[in-house]
């Protein structure tokens, strides 16, 4: 029953830039890899380690956090905090023995529909290449 591996990717998108960018990708009929499931949050700063770590431990093959470009945050500074928290998390996930690029932070603006598609497709390709998150089958998580 060797089925082609299709990853499960969780994408946290900020409402103002990245979600709008994703919408633009849709309304421009850009093809985007379906393995990413979008979860809308108001600001990338809402996404903290609790959300990302639990996604990973519960078997997400990849987690994408996308927010406004630095300086563009609808709430002025949220994405800077998001970035710091993310930098910390990158360190932490290392000890889970996961490839550090299973989690990704990207800046996607509302006009960057194409970029959204590129980032998601590339990320999905990367994750597919990496194969399933070993934790998906880890009974301890």
């Amino acid at each position: 029953m060797e089925k082609k591996f299709k990853p499960n990717i969780v994408g946290f998108l900020c409402n103002w830039c990245s979600y709008a960018g994703a919408d633009l990708a849709g309304s421009s009929k850009t093809q985007v890899d379906p393995s990413l499931s979008v979860i809308r949050v108001m600001c990338s700063s809402r996404v903290n380690s609790n959300l990302i770590l639990s996604s990973l431990l519960w078997g997400a093959d990849g987690v994408l956090v996308a927010g406004c470009h630095p300086g563009d945050c609808h709430y002025e500074q949220g994405n800077y905090y998001a970035r710091r928290r993310f930098a910390l998390l990158k360190k932490i996930t290392k000890i889970l023995n996961l490839e550090p690029d299973r989690i990704q932070l990207s800046w996607i603006s509302a006009s960057e529909g194409k970029r959204y598609a590129e980032i998601v497709n590339q990320f999905a390709r990367d994750i597919t290449k990496k194969g399933p998150n070993p934790l998906t089958r880890n009974s301890q998580t």
Binding site: A22, D23, S27, P34, V38, V41, M42, L51, E76, Y81
Partner: protein, 563 residues
Amino acid sequence: MNKNIGVYVCECGPNIPERIDVDKVVQEMSSMDEVKTVKKFNLMCSNDGKKFLKEEIEKQKLSHVVVAACSPKDHEKTFMSVCQESGLNPYLFQLVNIREQCAWMIPDKEEATSKAVKYIRAGIHRVLYHNPLKKKEIEINTDVLVIGGGLSGIEAALSLAGPKRKVHIIEKTDSLGGMAADLSQVLPHQGSKMDLIKKKVEQLESSEFVNINTFSQVKEVRGFLGNFEAVINTHSGNGGVEEKEIKIGAVIVATGFNLFDLKKNPIYGYGEADNVLNATEFEDMINSEKILLKSGKKPKSVALVHCAGRKEQGYCSKVCCLYNLKFAHYLRDHHPDIEVKELVIDWCLPHKQDQSYFEEAKDKGVDFIRMDELLKTKSTGDQIQIEFKTNDKSHSVSVDMAVVAPAMVPSEDTTKLADILNIPLDKSGFFKELHEMLDPVSTPMEGIYLTGCALGPKNIHESLTQSHATSGKIFSTLVPGRKIEPEVKVSEIKEDLCTGCQTCLSVCFYGAITTDSFKGVSVVNEAICRGCGNCVGSCPSGAIRSKHFTYPQLYQEVLDALR
């Protein structure tokens, strides 16, 4: 409470069925617990669709509604208001985006269908965790406090004061008028005198809706839009300080600017060489109509030196070029015997009529000299020698008198006031606007506005425009008789769980979180919170909840994403 969820799949004409097997979606969803009904509809956002949804909610006695259609950016509000009309709390509704995020993105029908199922299922699970949120209304005070009695402050006060809105204006000096009152002419190319300011001051003083406090400063401001309280200290004549508290709905900061201290850099020769004046001193000379050297003689030549302090401060003050031109015009018009040399780095004349003003000066015989960098100003006996560099070569001119145009710098109380008002400063030390482009007079603290040179160097017409802009903002947010409705999806702190570590406080840009020092817990001011959730992300103990984006709600989405 019984959970009766209604799930409606919008076909969006051919858009969704083209790529998604809607019937399959409907079938999958109907097997879910707590889903009372699943139906598809051709176009939910049409009037028929809205009517249909309304009937369904009423007929089926739905407790929650999930609509799978387009992006929330398009029709979230539409369906929320349908819910509202049907007597269902609009926050017990979830819009699932299967058009942009599935149908239009995924060419493979099977994949798109299963993705849509995933999303809708997540939506159903999520909506079960929704709470009925209620809009709140807060009574407001429409009065306004204007800090600073300069031109900007006066204009704002005049524009705002009226029978339904009182304006308190406070000025730290003895009289209103500010910097502009000392100017010889404000309108260089039209040459009219500046008694207009006087008129405006008189108008203010005679208004029954304006309360003028001179010799006064703010000591404390607390509260939020529509409900501020300010403590004002007024220095009475005998050295005592009188304290009073006023209630206002908005604050306008119009504290103006200071001039760069030319003594900070010896290259300007100010304070060392006689007959090196700064712009204000020269204005005084014009006002007294006597252009004389220290010796009492009339100068034969005057140099107007631009851009003093620009390099030190790191910005162009915008107005200096024009007022130097004004000086040049004045000298040529009234003292044609004085030779005028103007030492310019870059002309900054960004107004449709300023260039012609420059051309006119040129025609009047002003000697414009381009310099790349000023090197030195020194006194050589009777004369002042100014050395500068152009095209990598050194040059110098000698004149009898030099007028140096200093940069505009933040006024001295800026930092203190920023602390009192809890608003940020920018890197140049001026107040920082909420958004440099789109919100140039607001601050992160809703209800506190900025105008004029408190924000950075500005010319008079810009300052006036901004004063009107602040009044526009206040007119539209603080309408007499109306209440304000703060954002509903705000953060909320569970007191029991809060440890009082104030992490949330330090990450909140809007100052919406304060500490209850007695209880040792953080408190969200819902009137200020914008609902970004940064505090939630920062709280280690999960004591903060961002309404409508709670952990359980997001976790439901995560779980279904991983199915």
